[in-house]
């Protein structure tokens, strides 16, 4: 049972700490949402901008398809399916943890210390920091593209296949979330390196929007085994679309998404712990 008294924390164990973290996350997110709504017009504009910026990526794809019928052997609805699944996953991770890349700045100006003074896990506080509702723009845009692709795809939709789509989104969110977290942990050491993680998050998303057949084998291997972003949508999507996987992995690999997501989250948690411990022993 969750203890309600002030004596939780270390004594309460992992479960209590998790509950405490979620609660703090919710409280801080609420504060940021209210702050955002204090400037309503600005918020609407920024949400639109977020929507439009991601929409431009898809406009580029449509412009490409105005000149061709297939890219790397994939039709427009198939590419749109990849685009939508990757975009929703990144969008959700971005919404939930996207401002963690500000950690380096907080370390530099010393404001991270104020988070260490509150009775809540630092991770929850950093994750909720500057929670930006405008990022719903990307999610909305990706959902629209995904929805459109589902109406055009030539797939025999069984219940199992239909369930795979939301499962992909959940695992994809967890995988991208792990990358955001690991990137933030890296900033405990390199405070100016915020842009590096963009390569893996936004860069990874840019890659996953296109069919794996477009890229060199080594690159595909890299995002399968090294930074396993391929499990966000490529492998399960290829299965759904009835396409062979360019690396010729065994069939069960297409269903490894949840396992990979769990492993990556565990890895990111370890990186975060190390980073925070290093910060608390060096102070910068």
């Amino acid at each position: 049972m969750a203890s309600d008294g002030p004596a939780d924390g270390v004594g309460g164990g992992r479960g209590a700490a998790m509950a405490q973290g979620l609660r703090a996350y919710g409280l801080i997110v609420g504060m940021w949402v209210r702050s955002t709504l204090a400037y309503r017009a600005s918020f609407v504009m920024m949400a639109f901008g977020n929507f439009a910026a991601t929409a431009l990526d898809f406009v580029a794809i449509m412009l490409m398809f105005s000149q061709i019928d297939a890219l790397g052997g994939f039709s427009l609805p198939e590419v749109a399916f990849l685009y939508g699944t990757s975009g929703v996953s990144l969008g959700l991770a971005d919404l939930l943890l996207g401002s963690m890349d500000r950690l380096g700045r907080r370390v530099r100006d010393g404001t991270l210390d104020t988070l260490l003074l509150r009775p809540a896990p630092v991770f929850a506080q950093v994750a909720a920091d500057r929670f930006a509702l405008r990022r719903l723009g990307r999610i909305t845009q990706s959902l629209l593209v995904l929805g459109w692709s589902l109406t055009r795809l030539d797939v025999d939709w069984t219940v199992g296949r239909m369930l795979m789509v939301p499962l992909m989104a959940v695992c994809g969110t967890a995988i991208f979330g792990a990358v955001f977290t690991a990137g933030a942990a890296f900033q405990f050491w390199a405070q100016d390196a915020a842009e590096v993680q963009n390569s893996f998050t936004y860069g990874g998303n840019a890659m996953l929007q296109y069919p794996p057949t477009v890229f060199a084998k080594d690159l595909v291997r890299g995002v399968t085994f090294l930074v396993p972003l391929a499990f966000v949508n490529w492998l399960p999507a290829l299965r759904l679309l009835g396409r062979p996987d360019p690396l010729g992995l065994p069939g069960w690999a297409d269903f490894l998404g949840p396992v990979v997501a769990a492993l990556m989250c565990a890895g990111a948690a370890v990186a975060w712990r190390f980073g925070l411990r290093a910060y608390r022993s060096t102070g910068s």
């Binding site: 002030p6 209210r34 210390d113 260490l116 003074l117 009775p119 608390r280």
Partner: protein, 336 residues
């Protein structure tokens, strides 16, 4: 060692040190690691309910000490307990029992009304409603926060914001309050308000206060006990009066004579430092009594009036820093 005494000590610091490893450029590419001992084995105790000033020049180890006491930084050595809790190991448990105000870093929410920040504290610290209500009402009354509650924090003046920050740090009934430069940048009236409030909190609620400041008036008006840190060492720990004596401080005897006379001579232990018309200034060691001096002067000179001036605390501390010397026999003073 003594169990009974230890129970009363809210803050216990025993041989605590903090060593940073710094990489410094040496030549074009080479970098050399070297150690910086920011806090180099300090020991002190603070009993419950005391208000202590903690001062020292920039980079002396003040904020490193505070960061270790609050659990932000993990000490490299020594033993540290606050309310019986090891801050480094049980940071979140400790967080509920301490309040912290960083003078230059607000924890209030910039775009939201002041009361929203307080509401967050209530929920995050799980403050019971009755306690919250009572504490908030008290802060509102004593710090004049009433008209500010619905104003977005970004529209508050520096002084108003500081008052708001101090209230935020007290809503959860902390046993210890750490204040880092609470009066920095404030106007005279705000300073007075903040000081009066702190005195009240300390006296009425028995909240233990540890105060770092550059403004020595804060110390003079609030603290009976002062700790001075320099180069990571505690160079003084004792009463404010003792500090004056310790720092090679000199007191000044100001005498008004009947008429303009040449500088006073031949008074043992004193020397004339200034003459201005019929008024003369004589400096003498702070530890020495003024009575024989007054007698010696009155015996030989036509005395009209006199007064004794205590050494300026800033000068005292300046000489302490300059000398870097450790006054002896000044372990935790007990003013009782």
């Amino acid at each position: 060692m003594s169990g009974a005494a230890a129970a009363e000590q809210l803050i216990e610091v025993d041989g605590v040190e903090k060593v940073f490893s710094v990489r410094r450029k040496a030549g074009r590419l080479r970098r050399v690691r070297h150690e910086v001992r920011a806090v180099d084995g300090i020991t002190f105790q603070v009993p419950r309910g005391e208000m202590v000033g903690y001062i020292g020049p920039n980079g002396a180890g003040k904020s490193t000490t505070i960061k270790m006491l609050t659990g932000i930084l993990v000490p490299s050595g020594g033993r540290l307990r606050v309310a019986g809790i090891d801050p480094a190991r049980e940071r979140t448990r400790l967080a509920r029992r301490i309040g912290v105000v960083f003078g230059q870093r607000t924890t209030l929410w910039w775009d939201l009304p002041l009361k929203d920040s307080y509401e967050l504290v209530r929920r995050m610290y799980r403050v019971p409603d009755a306690v919250y209500r009572a504490n908030l009402d008290r802060c509102i009354e004593l710090l004049d926060l009433g008209p500010l509650l619905s104003v977005p924090v970004r529209q508050l003046s520096l002084g108003q914001r500081m008052r708001g920050d101090i209230a935020a740090a007290l809503l959860h009934d902390p046993e210890v309050l750490y204040l880092d430069e609470p009066t920095i940048g404030l106007d005279v009236i705000s300073k007075a308000k903040v000081r009066a409030f702190l005195r009240e909190v300390n006296a009425e609620r028995g909240t233990t206060v540890l105060l770092t400041t550059h403004d020595l008036t804060d110390i003079e008006q609030l603290c009976r006990r002062v700790m001075v840190i320099d180069h990571g060492h505690l160079v003084y720990d004792g009463g404010l009066d003792g500090l004056r004596a310790a720092g090679d401080g000199e007191r000044t005897l100001v005498v008004d004579l009947e008429r303009e006379l040449p500088p006073i001579e031949g008074v043992p232990g004193a020397r004339t430092v200034k003459v201005e018309g019929p008024r003369q200034w004589l400096a003498f060691p702070a530890a020495q009594s003024a009575a024989p001096l007054v007698a010696a002067v009155a015996e030989r000179y036509p005395l009209v009036d006199l007064s004794v001036r205590e050494p300026d605390i800033e000068d005292v501390i300046a000489t302490l820093y300059a000398g870097g010397r450790v006054p002896e026999g000044r372990a935790a003073a007990d003013p009782a």
